[in-house]
């Protein structure tokens, strides 16, 4: 093995070690990862709740629109009956 080969090997080792060290030194702990997972689960649950509430709201809007139409028809009927009675 000549000097050049040894140098290439060492440089590669140093680079690899620095990457590994850099990776290890700033990783979050298991507790922190668990905290992030819980946060993601809470977020997903809230998204489901929002969709459910939006569906409930849309159904109520349809119900209210139908009831408004019924009430309008009833008021129109009152006018019709009034005119029929006055004949």
């Amino acid at each position: 093995m000549n000097k050049r080969q040894v140098r290439v090997g060492m440089v590669s080792f140093v680079i690899a070690a620095s990457f590994l060290l850099a990776g290890c030194s700033s990783s979050p702990s298991e507790e922190q990862m668990r905290q992030l997972d819980e946060l993601k689960q809470e977020h997903a649950a809230l998204q489901r709740e929002v969709s459910q509430k939006e569906e409930q709201k849309a159904a109520l809007e349809r119900e209210v629109a139908a009831k408004n139409a019924k009430l309008k028809k009833c008021n129109d009927d009152k006018q019709v009956v009034q005119s029929r009675l006055s004949k």
Binding site: F13, L20, P28, L46, Q56, K67, K70, L71, D77, V81
Partner: protein, 241 residues
């Protein structure tokens, strides 16, 4: 020499790739913090949205309850305008529904079957006329249904008129027309004894079955036997004479 060089090179490349891979897979604390901040913000936004949706849903539920009360009040006022109430309206609706069902049942009959039940059409027409005397019939919810019922009855009456044979009375001098002779005709009943059928089918035109007049247009009810009512009428007539 060459083999040694290759071994060194392979080890160097492998350890480099392994190190880079490890560094990429692992999340840094800064990445973690960014993710935590991002999810916390999204969670807060969603919580605000849920609160807003809850407020809107509650408002819609209140509006729906108020509309129910308004509608009940409006209906009560509507019935009161014709001197009625919800119970009477429900009973009236049930009567109309029964008449509608009867009309539908009669409409499904063949002409021959309808002819046999023509009295039911007459009863139904009288019933429909009676409905009009109820002030509740002024309400559009009922007047629309009564209009439709009248149309069905008219169609039944048209079907009856179309299915019913008629005969125009000729003169005694030329045609020798009396109920007996008319019933005897081949194209009528081909049976003189069925004359009471023509009499009963034309009670509105014939008071005395011995007296019919030229030009009278008589209905010829279908059937090949006398009904109990027709037999009784004939018996009464024979006894009278």
């Amino acid at each position: 020499m060459k083999t040694q060089r290759m071994v060194v090179l392979v080890i160097a490349i492998s350890s480099l790739l392994f190190a880079v891979g490890s560094a990429q897979e692992k999340m840094t604390k800064e990445d973690w913090q960014r993710e935590v901040d991002r999810y916390t913000q999204m969670k807060t936004d969603l919580q605000v949205k849920v609160a807003e949706l809850n407020r809107q849903i509650e408002s819609l539920q209140n509006e729906s309850t108020k509309l129910d009360a308004d509608y009940t009040r409006c209906k009560d006022e509507l019935y009161a305008m014709v001197g009625s109430n919800a119970q009477e309206a429900a009973a009236f609706a049930a009567e109309i529904e029964a008449a509608e069902n009867k009309a539908n049942e009669l409409l499904r009959l063949s002409d021959a079957e309808l002819m046999q039940r023509s009295s039911e059409v007459t009863d139904l027409a009288a019933k429909a006329k009676g409905f009009r005397s109820n002030k509740l019939s002024l309400l559009p919810e009922f007047s629309d249904r009564l209009d439709a019922l009248d149309q069905k009855i008219e169609s039944l009456q048209r079907a009856l008129a179309g299915a019913e044979k008629t005969y125009t009375v000729g003169t005694w001098a030329r045609d020798r027309d009396c109920l007996w002779n008319i019933a005897k005709k081949k194209d009528i009943y081909n049976n003189a004894w069925l004359w009471p059928k023509i009499w009963m089918g034309n009670k509105d035109k014939i008071r005395n079955p011995d007296l019919i007049y030229p030009g009278q247009k008589l209905r010829v009810p279908s059937g090949n036997a006398l009904t109990a009512e027709e037999k009784a009428a004939a018996r009464r007539h024979y006894m009278k004479n």
